[in-house]
């Protein structure tokens, strides 16, 4: 995986101006996605990015591919229809953590179960950013937010574990701090045939860091370095604190992809023997 020249990255952006706050890591992930597409030498005409609503969803206006900014929580369902209608599309589905695991949670588990060849890219910043910092399904117990002023009473979802349990065949987690590793994980998810999910542990200094960690963006990134435990160490049983999480390819198996299975349906429906 290589970092492509900024001029080359810019060619795949409709606009370099975004509405994301200063210090937000969404721009880093956007660049990582373009780096992954370029590294895989994909035909830009076939790259399709489908996203939900929230800060992450706005990526569709900036990336210069076929892009669909859908309704809140529905990106995976729209993407499922698009991929089945045109299997040549290379479909990435960008969701925020609330988009993916709260309002879209049902679509997530069923997309994982079906194993449609989609790559879910979850920007997890622990908070609802677009609406101004409310607690969500990934907000940690005790965290302070606009809707948990006395500390959040609920535990957080582990989106990777959720996807794996539901049947996802490629599950990875990365951080904007470890940029090239993130590009590699995204590329791994994109080339994987089947439902893949890459969770990107993002930083929202404005609405999460200020109240829970640190308002300084650079400090939040450095924190990611401390929190991220390589999956090899994690699996070897390295001691972990509450704040730490494993990163890398957490789960990777091969299972019949949905479109392949449906080809079997078409053959049986038309009575063609294989």
């Amino acid at each position: 995986m290589t970092r492509h020249a900024t001029a080359e990255i810019r060619e795949h952006l409709r606009s370099a101006k975004t509405l994301w706050c200063p210090g937000c890591t969404n721009g880093i992930v956007t660049r990582a996605m373009i780096d992954a597409y370029l590294s895989l030498d994909l035909d830009p005409e076939k790259v399709t990015v489908v996203a939900g609503i929230g800060c992450a969803g706005r990526i569709t206006a900036y990336l210069d591919y076929s892009t669909v900014h859908t309704a809140h929580g529905r990106a995976l369902a729209v993407a499922t229809g698009a991929k089945l209608a045109d299997p040549e599309l290379v479909v990435s589905v960008v969701m925020g953590d609330g988009d993916c695991a709260a309002i879209g949670g049902n679509h997530l588990i069923h997309a994982a179960r079906r194993n449609v060849d989609l790559t879910a890219i979850v920007f997890n910043n622990d908070i609802y950013g677009m609406t101004g910092g409310q607690a969500g399904p990934t907000t940690h117990e005790g965290d302070v937010s606009k809707t948990s002023p006395f500390g959040h009473p609920e535990p957080a979802f582990d989106i990777c574990e959720l996807a794996r349990a539901a049947g996802a065949t490629f599950v990875a987690r990365g951080t904007p701090y470890a940029y090239l590793k993130l590009v590699q994980l995204l590329a791994g998810g994109i080339v994987h045939k089947g439902f893949s999910l890459v969770e990107v542990m993002s930083a929202c200094p404005t609405y999460y860091g200020r109240f829970n960690q640190t308002p300084v963006p650079a400090e939040m990134l450095k924190l990611q370095q401390k929190q991220a435990v390589p999956v090899e160490k994690y699996k070897a049983g390295a001691p972990m604190t509450e704040e730490q999480f494993p990163v890398g390819v957490l789960h990777h198996v091969e299972r019949t992809e949905y479109l392949e299975a449906y080809e079997g349906v078409r053959r049986r429906a038309t009575g063609i023997k294989v």
Binding site: E45, T48, T70, G81
Partner: protein, 385 residues
């Protein structure tokens, strides 16, 4: 060669109509009384190289249908009341993003779980106004098995032509009824084809649909690299622009006017025995069948009664209502809801005739006898045999 006559159920006819119209994608979720549409298409679509998928709920079903349409394949979903309610947000999305797709709602008694196996016409206003915000929509109401087929074909054609979701509003009676029908042969059908816009991708942003020239959107994965958004967008560039009242007003008016500007071309209405009628029955869908029987009876009895049957419920056939209002003294509006369309008729009639409503929400069909009783009251001075 004449078309083969087949004994078909209304729901099966919808499925066959979709195939004939070129639909090759269905996403749905089982719900009474629409399920046979999904069952039929799960068998038929893979036969013709299409795709059937059973989604996790109705929200996902319409979302997948929208996604398939964006990728270039004509698509539909089918449901009933509770599922139709769940679909409303994405119907609004399809209207906003101008994605052609067809939604079939086989109406049953409501609200909530209501009367799952009994017919109703309780969704006629939801079909028009169910989603938030200003939008346009086309709603077709079949009253026979044959119309379940032909109106589904029409729904796809209108959807492609006007780049809008089109709703086929069937009900538990029409959907579950069986009739012998001669389906039109493929060569007898007009089927709208989708084509890529004839412009250079670099110039795509500079061409804009007008009310008289509604351009097709390039598919995902084409050289146009389109952006589709449910945010208010600039109609010229397609770029979201939420800070300009002018841009929002332009889009909002366009989404409404692109349908209403073509009302005369879209609207279909049947007038039956209206010649010399002093009283009209205004009925749609399955109720129109009982109304037709009652009108025939009335004419045989020597009283001048006619039927006006909207086939397009939305936009409402206001020209036909105008004509009717000028001609008759009373309009009887029987419907399986309470005054939903009768209010609309009353507004359009605007005092030129008396409007008598007859509504029921008990899941029972409105019978010819019930309409005959209403007719008798209008001709109280006549000696009926």
């Amino acid at each position: 060669m004449p078309a083969e006559r087949r004994l078909l159920q209304g729901n099966e006819a919808v499925a066959e109509g979709a195939i004939a119209a070129g639909a090759r994608f269905f996403a749905g979720y089982p719900i009474t009384p629409s399920t046979e549409i999904a069952e039929t298409l799960s068998r038929r679509l893979p036969e013709v190289g299409g795709t059937f998928i059973q989604m996790e709920d109705e929200i996902a079903s319409i979302a997948a249908a929208v996604g398939a349409s964006l990728a270039g394949v004509k698509s539909l979903t089918a449901t009933s009341g509770p599922g139709f309610s769940l679909m409303q947000e994405m119907i609004g999305y399809a209207a906003m993003t101008q994605v052609p797709c067809v939604i079939v709602d086989v109406m049953r008694g409501g609200p909530s779980t209501g009367l799952p196996t009994e017919p109703s016409q309780g969704d006629v206003m939801q079909a028009r106004w169910g989603t938030h915000g200003e939008h346009s929509v086309i709603v077709l109401v079949p009253s026979s098995v044959e119309e379940c087929f032909t109106l589904t074909v029409d729904a796809f054609n209108l959807s492609e032509q006007y780049r809008t979701p089109v709703i086929v509003l069937s009900d538990a009676m029409v959907g579950h009824m069986r009739e012998a029908v001669a389906l039109p042969l493929p060569e007898e059908l007009r089927v709208a084809e989708r084509s890529e816009p004839d412009v250079d991708p670099d110039e795509y942003d500079t061409v804009m649909s007008t009310l008289d020239n509604i351009l097709q959107r390039p598919d995902l994965g084409s050289r146009f690299r389109v952006h589709v958004t449910g945010l208010v967008y600039n109609r010229r560039s397609g770029v979201p622009e939420t800070g300009s009242p002018d841009v929002a007003q332009d889009l909002g008016r366009y989404l409404r006017e692109k349908i209403y500007h073509h009302r005369d071309a879209i609207v279909r209405v049947e007038e039956f025995m209206m010649e010399g009628a002093e009283v009209a029955v205004f009925a749609y869908g399955s109720v129109a069948r009982a109304a037709r029987a009652a009108v025939r009876w009335a004419r045989a009895q020597g009283v001048p009664v006619g039927l006006v049957r909207p086939i397009t419920l939305w936009p409402l056939p206001t020209a036909a209502v105008d004509h009717m209002a000028e001609q008759v003294r009373t309009v009887i509006v029987p419907e399986m809801n309470i005054r939903q369309i009768a209010w609309e008729v009353q507004a359009a009639v605007a005092g030129r005739a008396r409007v008598v409503d007859y509504g029921r929400v008990d899941g029972a069909l409105i019978t010819p006898e019930q309409i005959k009783d209403l007719v008798k009251k209008e001709f109280y001075y006549h000696r009926f045999s």
